[in-house]
Amino acid sequence: MNYDAWENFNGVNWKKEINVRDFIQTNHTPYSGNEEFLEDATERTKKLVGKLDELLDQEQKSGGVLDIDTDTVSSLTNYTSGYLDKNLEIIVGIQTDKPLKRGVNPFGGLNMTQKACEAYGYKLSDKVKNEFQYRTTHNDGVFRVYSDEIKAARNCGIITGLPDAYGRGRIIGDYRRVALYGIDVLIKNKTNDKTMLGNQEMNVENIRQLEELYQQIAFLGKLKKMAKIYGYDISNPAQNAKEAIQWLYFAYLGAIKEQNGAAMSLGRVSTFLDIYIERDIKKGILNEKSAQELFDDFVIKLRMARHLRTQEYNELFAGDPLWITEAIGGMSENGNTLITKSSFRMLHTLYTLGTSAEPNLTILWADSLPEKFKRYVAKVSYDTAALQYENDDIMRPEFGDDYAIACCVSAMRVGKDMQFFGARANLAKLLLLSLNGGRDEMSGTQVAPKKAPYAGEYLEYEKVLECMLFYREWLAKTYVNAMNIIHYMHDKYAYEKTQMALHDTVVHRFMAFGVAGMSVLSDSLSAIKYAKVKVLRDGNGLIYDFETIGEYPAFGNDDDNVDSIAKEQVTLFINELKKHRTYRDAEHTLSILTITSNVVYGKKTGATPDGRKAGAPFAPGANPMHNREKNGALASLNSVAKLTYDICKDGISNTFTIVPDALGHTLEERYKNLVTILNGYFNSKAHHININVLNKETLIEAIAHPEKYPNLTIRVSGYAVNFHKLSKTQQAEIMSRTFHESI
């Protein structure tokens, strides 16, 4: 292959095969300087942001949804072109025909779509209803097959948030391929793959793969048509930076028009795009101001991405997130940094456009990242609370140097790995179910197979572990079965055609399981082991509460007595999951991540031996329970760092909030100390951290005077939200979290 569009680009391999990593490695310009080169927003950008802010305001005032097109099923070519301001926009393309107007996407489930429309005062049109009368949705398929046991496990909340009623998401298309190669090369490659596969034995796997390839090719064609609607021909490679961003964005736009997956992450695009920007700057056809404008316009588009969700969904994943996760930074395997000037430009959009929850900007932290970049991101975190950090030094050995993050913490090689997202199992509830012989402690219903409940008056550690053994096995089996069904049906009825077309044909699959309530379980077991826990039973012999006498070491204090329990419980669970074969032989992985579902999980879980009351929220992700950290912030970080990445390869999420004063006196001191904290944490092999630097008083004031803080962003889990998009309960839960203070 050779194209004029590739003029002045180095490298050989990426021209012979689809290989974006090789293109980056042979062409990127590492940057170790500071942020002084950056330019402020231009008048044009300010005008466009003004228009967007107006729409965002209207959206908030209309109850969170500005408008819904109830007549058209969302897909790549079903809408005419739409603009925020046609005369001002540099990068074009929106999901429907009007900005912030949401489409309907009933492929996941028709009922959910109807419910979602009704929640905002709309009605799904008869036209769409009729069309889907003759279609099987993903949701239909799953519920045709679910066993009563799975349904019971789901209803009582021991497994929650399963993607059986919404798009699974968490798949990252390699959107860069469209910019680098153009659609025609991609179609040609996929067509070759299909021809070759067609000559092999026709077994179930190959037949399925062939049909998928057919769909991938068809949707690459649709992507081309979609771009045509906006007046662009993306058959060939992008010629310059503006086209590269436009082509790449069209690919992403196609994906979010087709799929309403929970997390629709972007990948790792900044440094890729930097290569085009550098070339244009050298040619003299771009300067810093116009380069920043390109990024600003691109990010404005990303900030407009929307999906229509039900209320139940919003409880699990609050704040209308799409997890448009962009991984920034990291190091190459050869030791060069992958930081470029465009890593800065992407982050700088938080200033040129104002702070925002999306895109979900994720810093891949490595010990040897340039110091000036580290200081800059610490400053950005301090100013915006919009960043999360993940440990490149532990992910690079697993995934190489061209991986990205799906959703919050899930690493995957771009275009080479995909995952089957699997929400999470509730470990705190597993303990209670085990004590009650398989009965749900909230309702008394027999959920799991019946066994003799715990007999004594006081809980004995060894006996409790033995009870859990049986029910852990049951939970793991039920969970894997549910996941296999879900992903079989998702592949069958809601296959990600655009996104998988932007993957290699042969991909590695992960099945990403998860756990919630890890710190509640650990503290409960610690209380049983080190304090005295008396059980309280109701008239039917159901254990519904506990009396805990004495002190116990709590997770979050760097105390091995309890931290080892946490690690042991997580290990036992993933090992149990691994005993069961997965759909398409996906690799079992585990995350300790809750999104905002820690509130919902808590609501569905009875009182626990750690002293947590029935219905009270869990701590998010791998966080210690609120305000049980008695030895300060670093002790808390040390506890979390003991949960090792090798057992939780789908990520370990930690959300950290510190008041500005506790970081030092001057701003420079605070940035420096924040960098030292991040270095220390990641050198301790921890995986992930969200950083919030803020005072509780700010949040209290924001609740009282929302108009003063319209853009208040806060990291809640593996993503950031606009504080005002959270429910009252969720806001209260965030306020109750530990704010690390100075002494």
């Binding site: 670093l634 904290i677 944490y681 301790s684 100075s742």
Partner: protein, 241 residues
């Protein structure tokens, strides 16, 4: 060897440079009217083995090894000078920066032993006259000044801290007198004004002790910033660096 310790704070950023692991020792011979750690007065408390404390600190090596370190506060740490000297010696051997946060009241020979292994002294200079020290701390200013002179002789970097209590230490003459004393020491690296706060009231309530300054006003941070920037004071605090 064992030390009597009140508590640990794994992330300190205000008591010495960089990130500090801070240990609060038990026991204090003073009874300052403004004391914000009344729970550390008594020498009774949990005893910890020195090796355990060392191991506990080293768990934070990744955080404190670069520009940070360990700060021993209290209470008055010099009451347990043998323990501190031994701990500091061990920490310095491992390349950990050591800081002593003290009132300057203690056995001078014991202090000398501690200073052998101390990288930084943070000393409270509460008042500028014997009269005020007697009245508000039941202590002898001479002992404090002797201690500071010792740090000067041993060439240990010195930070002096001074609390601004509205109505007691916020007059221009009081501030000038303190600054004048502080400026006299050649080893002085930083001078810092601290604002008087009343966040310790719940601790007094719990212990059943009266807090002598309960009725006094807190010192606003803005006053500290003003003082730090004020031209009257030649030594700027690190609020301004």
């Amino acid at each position: 060897m064992k030390g009597v310790i009140n508590s640990f704070q794994s992330l300190g950023t205000l008591d010495g440079p960089g990130l500090r692991y801070v240990i609060f020792m038990q026991g204090c011979p003073l009874r300052c009217i403004n004391c914000h750690n009344p729970e550390t007065w008594s020498l009774d408390g949990d005893k910890y083995d020195l090796d355990d404390i060392y191991a506990r600190i080293m768990r934070y090596q990744n955080y404190i090894c670069n520009n940070g370190g360990v700060t021993i506060s209290g209470g008055e740490p010099l009451l347990q000078w043998e323990f501190i000297a031994e701990l500091f010696s061990k920490l310095q051997k491992s390349g950990i920066h050591t800081a002593l946060d003290t009132s300057g009241i203690g056995d001078l020979n014991g202090a000398k032993e501690v200073l052998k292994y101390t990288n930084l002294v943070i000393c409270d200079l509460k008042f500028s006259s014997q009269e005020e020290y007697s009245k508000n701390c039941k202590a002898d200013i001479g002992r404090v000044l002797n201690f500071i002179e010792l740090t000067e002789k041993e060439k240990i970097p010195l930070w002096i801290r001074h609390l601004i209590i509205p109505g007691i230490t916020d007059t221009a003459s009081s501030i000038n007198a303190i600054v004048k004393i502080a400026k006299g020491y050649k080893n002085l690296e930083k001078f810092e004004f601290l604002p008087f706060k009343k966040t310790c009231i719940p601790k007094y309530k719990e212990l059943g002790f009266p807090f002598p300054l309960e009725q006094n006003d807190e010192c606003p941070n803005t006053l500290i910033e003003k003082l730090a920037k004020s031209q009257m004071i030649p030594l700027l605090t690190h609020f301004n660096d």
